[in-house]
Symmetry: C2
Subunit: 205 residues, 2 copies
């Protein structure tokens, strides 16, 4: 697509560098901005720049944070003896949204994947091991995705911990709430039978 204006072309080029956004969509977005008040573009431009230059990684859990230590790690009301191990910060948000977790997190920044060239040294595993051994932590919850890479990462961390008195757990796998059995895949359904849990009448009341 030929764009006569150099300014427009540069903006479209930069926007289309974003994942999943082609030249056509980029052009549509940029033309939209031109129709809006200039302040909107100014705010967008400034928000991105500020974010990129000022955001930090929490020194303790590697979550994104405005300060050196994130809101969760610095919150005295959270239970610092339980650490939930997740891949990235979107998982933190997802778990926080449930409102069912009061412990703290540890963001690995990915999972071990030889296929993609990601090894243990690329992840925040050493800080996790150090944290796990500080005496304050009582339980580690593995909340990585249920894939080969996720399992490998769990196992690697387990090995690194060595002899430990920590309680180790993983989040429950099973049939999602509201799903019909006939559409569940066999592996999930099989696991959900093997790992069945006591029926709690109270949940149904």
């Amino acid at each position: 697509m030929e764009i006569s204006s150099r300014l427009l072309e540069e903006a479209v080029d930069e926007v289309s560098r974003l994942p999943g956004i082609g030249k056509r969509t980029a052009l549509r977005l940029v033309l939209h901005l031109l129709k809006q008040p200039a302040e909107q573009t100014e705010r967008l431009s400034e928000a991105l720049r500020t974010l990129r230059t000022q955001i930090q990684q929490c020194r303790q859990c590697h979550n994104l944070s405005d300060r050196e230590v994130c809101d969760i790690c610095s919150n005295p009301k959270r239970d610092h003896s339980i650490v939930c191990v997740v891949e990235d910060i979107r998982d933190v948000m997802a778990i926080e949204n449930t409102g069912h977790y009061r412990g703290i997190y540890h963001v690995l920044g990915g999972k071990i994947s030889p296929m993609e060239g990601v090894g243990p040294q690329d992840l925040h595993i050493d800080t996790l091991i150090k944290k796990a051994k500080n005496g304050e932590v009582k339980e580690l919850i593995f909340a990585l995705s249920a894939t080969m890479e996720g399992d490998t990462t769990n196992f690697y961390i387990f090995k690194q911990l060595g002899e430990t008195a920590l309680r180790l757990s993983t989040i429950a796998r099973g049939i999602p709430v509201g799903d019909e059995l006939e559409y569940a895949d066999e592996v999930t359904l099989g696991r959900s039978i093997l790992q069945r849990i006591p029926f709690e009448g109270s949940l149904n009341r």
Copy 2:
């Protein structure tokens, strides 16, 4: 979705103001930027800001332009006696891409649409009428979309021109090249029969 970082939240908010981009996509885009070198965000931010503050509308045809008069209007090799009337600058790009047009353009900035509250005074119709009467122009090509609004706009301009020696034309409507007849809508197919053109054997050679 709860986002713990205020910086991140502001960036996601601004990005999700763009049309067709929800909070989740915005978050994905912003997290992507955070993984890339800081220069990419800087370039994106700067390109948008520069575009919004420096882009101009061509004084003659209302196309977007880096200068007061756009590259097309200021090109002495273009035929200034033929003016193609289009809705917006994307149409200019589309026609330029074909490589089949050597005249100049006039960008209306929309079409008359009472439903959306767009009247003739909101469009660049007066400058078109003035241009059409300057003596240099010999032909106007209406290239608006083939909708009720497009036809209304064509007709309004036609009326405003009054008695004129200009040649008026519209782009051909018909079956798109490569399309199968059975899938064409009736109106288009009907028109394409009524407005049939001489068979040119040369095209098939």
